[in-house]
């Protein structure tokens, strides 16, 4: 039989995720200018990492699975950053 995770870890993960949801919701009602976007993205990325680590068991899995999980994100970052390098530097945004 495979090893299983202590149920406490799942409950803590869920509570952390719900607290992060509450945080992102509340921050939206405070005007912080550009920081609103930065905070929302930072919280979303944190939630994604927490889900991947504890619910999807990236924590404790092999290096090969870590690589496969990171690969998709890396290609997405290339897609977005190269496109933005064009849009942010050539005066498309009037």
């Amino acid at each position: 039989m495979e090893k299983v995770v202590d149920p406490k870890i799942y409950f803590r993960t869920a509570i952390a995720l719900l607290l992060l949801l509450a945080a992102t919701w509340m921050i939206a009602y405070i005007n912080l200018g550009l920081f609103n976007l930065i905070a929302a993205l930072a919280i979303a990325i944190t939630k994604a990492i927490v889900i991947a680590l504890f619910f999807m068991h990236i924590k404790g899995s092999s290096r090969l699975l870590h690589l496969a999980a990171i690969a998709g994100v890396m290609w997405l970052l290339i897609l977005i950053s190269l496109t933005l390098s064009d849009f942010l530097t050539r005066g498309w945004t009037q």
């Binding site: 869920a14 889900i51 897609l79």
Partner: protein
């Protein structure tokens, strides 16, 4: 790797050396599929990013008309469904048949709650004239770009809703199979990779909620 029991040895397909390698291969395959899904949604996230930079002000105005209470509640519903799914994977590893069936049905039920709330919200959007090409009306300054925001909103949430629907279907089939004791004695690979899919759909929503409902400050 050498912990394979006699029962587990019977589960190993001929191309694998042992059950550990077989399980690792299944998980690797699912993670590679999820990487393609990241890029599938990635195209839409890219469009969103570009248009948000170009028409930021119109996006902030348009976003304020969305129902943040339904969107936020749906985020919580999906997060809790992910918790049930994580426990379902655990139950499958512990050979708890009744617990596994119940948790899979519970996860599917929360998926249905999500879809129901989404349906209520889409209907509300329709009544409020927010659906592009279906009576879209905008009183604000920039109707064309507000409509663009709603195109992106319906494309992203629609693609996500299709994924939730597929997930509910998978969960219901697995619940039936679990009830028939298909996943006992170490045969829990299917549950684990279905779990990975469900958690991924949850992660996508974790980005959609702030990006669509909480653009700028409300």
């Amino acid at each position: 790797m050498n912990t394979t029991t006699t029962i587990e040895a019977g589960l190993v397909h001929q191309q694998f050396d042992d059950i550990g390698q077989q399980r690792e291969a299944a998980k690797l395959g699912m993670w590679i599929f999820l990487a393609t899904e990241v890029l599938f949604f990635g195209g839409l996230f890219l469009s969103y990013t570009v248009y948000r930079f170009v028409y930021g002000h119109a996006f902030v105005e348009a976003s304020r008309k969305l129902d943040v209470v339904i969107g936020g509640t749906n985020t919580a519903v999906l997060l809790i469904s992910s918790l049930l799914m994580a426990f379902a994977v655990r139950a499958s590893k512990l050979d708890q048949r009744r617990m596994l069936t119940g948790l899979l049905l519970g996860t599917a039920f929360l998926g249905c709650v999500f879809m129901l709330l989404k349906g209520v919200e889409y209907h509300k959007d329709y009544v409020d004239h927010l659906v592009p090409r279906m009576g879209f009306k905008w009183e604000g300054a920039d109707p064309g770009n507000a409509e663009l925001f709603y195109w992106i909103y319906f494309a992203m949430t629609g693609l996500h809703a299709i994924h939730v629907t597929v997930g509910i279907g998978i969960l219901l089939v697995l619940a039936l199979l679990a009830w028939r004791n298909t996943f006992s004695n170490g045969n829990h690979n299917t549950i684990e990779i279905a779990g990975l899919y469900w958690h991924f759909v949850d992660i996508v929503w974790c980005f959609l909620f702030p990006l669509l409902y909480l653009v700028g400050h409300r």
